[in-house]
Amino acid sequence: MDEIFGIPTPLLFGQLLLGLINGAFYAMLSLGLAVIFGLLNIINFTHGAQFMMGAFVAWMLLNYLGIGYWWALILSPLLVGLTGVILERTMICQLYKMDHLYGMLLTFGLSLIIEGVFRNEYGSSGMPYRIPADLAGAWDLGFMFMPVYRGWVVVFALFACISTWLVIEKTRLGAYLRAATENAPLVQAFGVNVPRMITLTYGAGVALAALAGVLAAPIYSVNPQMGTNLIIVVFAVVVIGGMGSILGSVLTGFGLGIIEGLTKVFYPEASATVIFIIMVIVLLARPAGLFGRA
């Protein structure tokens, strides 16, 4: 059997593929964070909790109302995005003129509260959520067994990332958004309702987190802590990609997923640390991140 650095090639290919799948989650979550940071200048620490809410709403739709995965994929981001809109209108909007630190403290506190409420209500060991029947099963690729659902996750995440990027870079709405980031009063002078745009942007960022949550529900245990572990990595991804850079966070998300996957073969003990080592190196060499503008 062929080997690369003492690792059988099939195993290596398998890990690259798995890394890509995890990268899809990193990309989707960091995309939402980047959108929110780029346009609102808020570091949204509630993102992990909103990811978790997305998964939980999917579970609730199924168990209380009998609504399956496909509808949940639309309804859950809408519902969770709506809570984001309410959050922005009632609390976050008070903080735009203050230091970043206040936004961070508020969203961090909120995430603790949200997770606490879910834990009180549903416990900590989680809820079962099955893979939808249409996506059950697996392909035998020869070098590994590839669950259909994981393939779906990669394709769908790519689709979501590219659409978001297109909306922001190529449409009139996106142009308004980018302009408002640069100079909000001027854009408002042209008759654009900037506060409403910002509210909806936050809602959309939150909806992206919830969408990732629905995608994650059949793979991971749907439990109140599911966002906590992921969000720290995702922050590192955003920092490495460059704060606010959408393309940067998507590419970095996929790339770091692959690097993490390879670490799991060569030295599994370090697989949770490797991303932060890269973050340190990137911050030293390019403080604005790989794709950020200094």
Binding site: G123, S124, R130, I219, S221, K264, E269
Partner: protein, 411 residues
């Protein structure tokens, strides 16, 4: 409804913790006639559902059933967040302020630390939550009793059974901390002694891992017949879930859940968990007595059924109170070691675990049961999950006393 009750419980927990920080105000005479029990466990983290509020309620049930036998019993509760520093601080403060016994204490690192404090203050610790077999081995003390399960008993029951069933080559997926290492070590010993081989292992960072697919794909190259999961709680749940997704079990590889509780199976759902082999020392539907105590606990736990960890609090607290009644409150307050000696001297008997005894090294003896998780078609409803495969009698379930290196036994 649920929210209200849990909120009340959380309030009680917070109140209890706050109470722990205040000087005792009750009259001296009343204090002298009151036994204080501190339930120290994980109320908010990954091990919450295994004991947490349920362990607290089981302790309350024990006090209620024990009734008034000439002394009062108070229960307080705090969350140690699975951190040894937090656990040690609370334990020290509680013992200094008149708590006589601390019960539960999951997470092996915290359990070992609190056992040391109990010895230093000459109080009592009834550990029902930690898994490490070192509590009755090199780290045993005259002040601690280890109730129910430990890594040796789990390894012997589940590991031994899997090897006998033909699973003679093992690959371990291990949580990279003290508990995971101990469970892997104890299980690997059984596998080798039974003629099996350990073909590899992977140690993943705890608790920062939620994707186990990479670790599940790696054993395929080694052609292992069994994947031993030396982890617990949400990690085990995720490993099992993802093993099903990647078709690991469909290709004949067996999963060995080395530590798994009823709430974990509930969280997985039978569709995914069916066929898993696991070991517990309690199951609510085991016999008439276990069904009776589970039914009595129902109003307290709502519709959740107890598992071996939460109900061990009931059993441990009840036996402790019997020892107090036997020797008198004044004598019990003078020396925790004497209380533990009395607990070892009198026989245990309760509805949860039946008749039993406590060895000189502090190990409570009870049978261990090997279960297989039912298929969805076999289950009659929520929590009807286990089929009994095999019973290991109490005197064979645990590590022989002379092999544990407990200083109390050599002396």
């Amino acid at each position: 409804m649920t929210t209200t009750r849990r909120n009340v419980m959380a309030g009680a927990a917070a109140g209890g913790a706050a109470l722990g920080g205040l000087p005792w105000r009750s009259a001296r005479a009343q204090a002298a006639n009151t036994i204080r029990i501190g339930v120290l466990n994980d109320m908010s983290g990954p091990y919450r559902d295994i004991s947490g509020p349920y362990g607290l309620e089981c302790t309350r049930q024990a006090v209620q059933e024990f009734g008034n036998r000439g002394f009062n019993v108070e229960i307080i509760n705090a969350d140690h967040q699975n951190r040894p520093d937090v656990g040690v601080n609370i334990a020290r403060q509680w013992y200094d302020q008149g708590v006589d016994m601390i019960i539960d204490v999951p997470t092996s690192s915290v359990g070992l630390a609190v056992a040391n404090i109990a010895r230093e203050k000459n109080k009592v610790c009834v550990n029902t939550g930690s898994a490490t077999s070192d509590l009755t081995g090199p780290a045993c003390t005259p002040n601690t009793v280890h109730w129910m399960y430990d890594t040796y008993m789990l390894a012997k029951s589940t590991g031994g059974a899997m090897v006998r069933a033909g699973g003679d080559s093992w690959f371990f997926i291990t949580a990279d901390y003290a508990f995971g290492h101990a469970l892997e070590r104890d299980t690997a010993n059984f596998v080798r002694n039974a003629g099996g081989r350990v073909v590899g292992q992977v140690r993943y960072p705890f608790p920062a891992t939620s994707d186990f697919s990479s670790f599940l794909v790696q054993p395929q190259a080694s052609r292992a017949k069994v994947i031993g999961m030396a982890n617990a709680g949400a990690d085990t749940i995720n490993t099992v879930k993802q093993a099903a997704e990647f078709g690991i079990t469909r290709r004949g590889v067996k999963l060995a859940a080395l530590l798994m509780f009823l709430p974990d199976v509930h969280a997985l759902g039978l569709q995914t968990a069916q066929g898993l082999i696991l070991t517990e020392s309690f199951y609510w539907d085991l016999n008439d007595r276990t069904r009776a105590i589970s039914e009595r606990l129902r109003p307290r736990l709502r519709d959740v059924r107890p598992n071996m960890a939460s109900i061990a609090n009931y059993s441990g607290a009840l036996h402790y109170l019997k020892a107090i009644a036997d020797m008198g409150v004044a004598a019990s307050k003078a020396s925790g070691a004497e209380v533990v000696a009395r607990m070892k001297a009198i026989p245990c008997d309760d509805d949860a675990f039946g008749a039993g005894s406590i060895r000189a090294d502090g190990r409570k003896l009870c049978p261990s049961y090997l279960f297989e998780v039912k298929a969805p078609s076999e289950s009659r409803g929520p929590y009807d999950y286990y089929k009994l495969l095999q019973t290991t009698p109490a005197n064979e379930a645990f590590r022989p006393m002379n092999e544990g290196n407990c200083p109390l036994v050599r002396a």
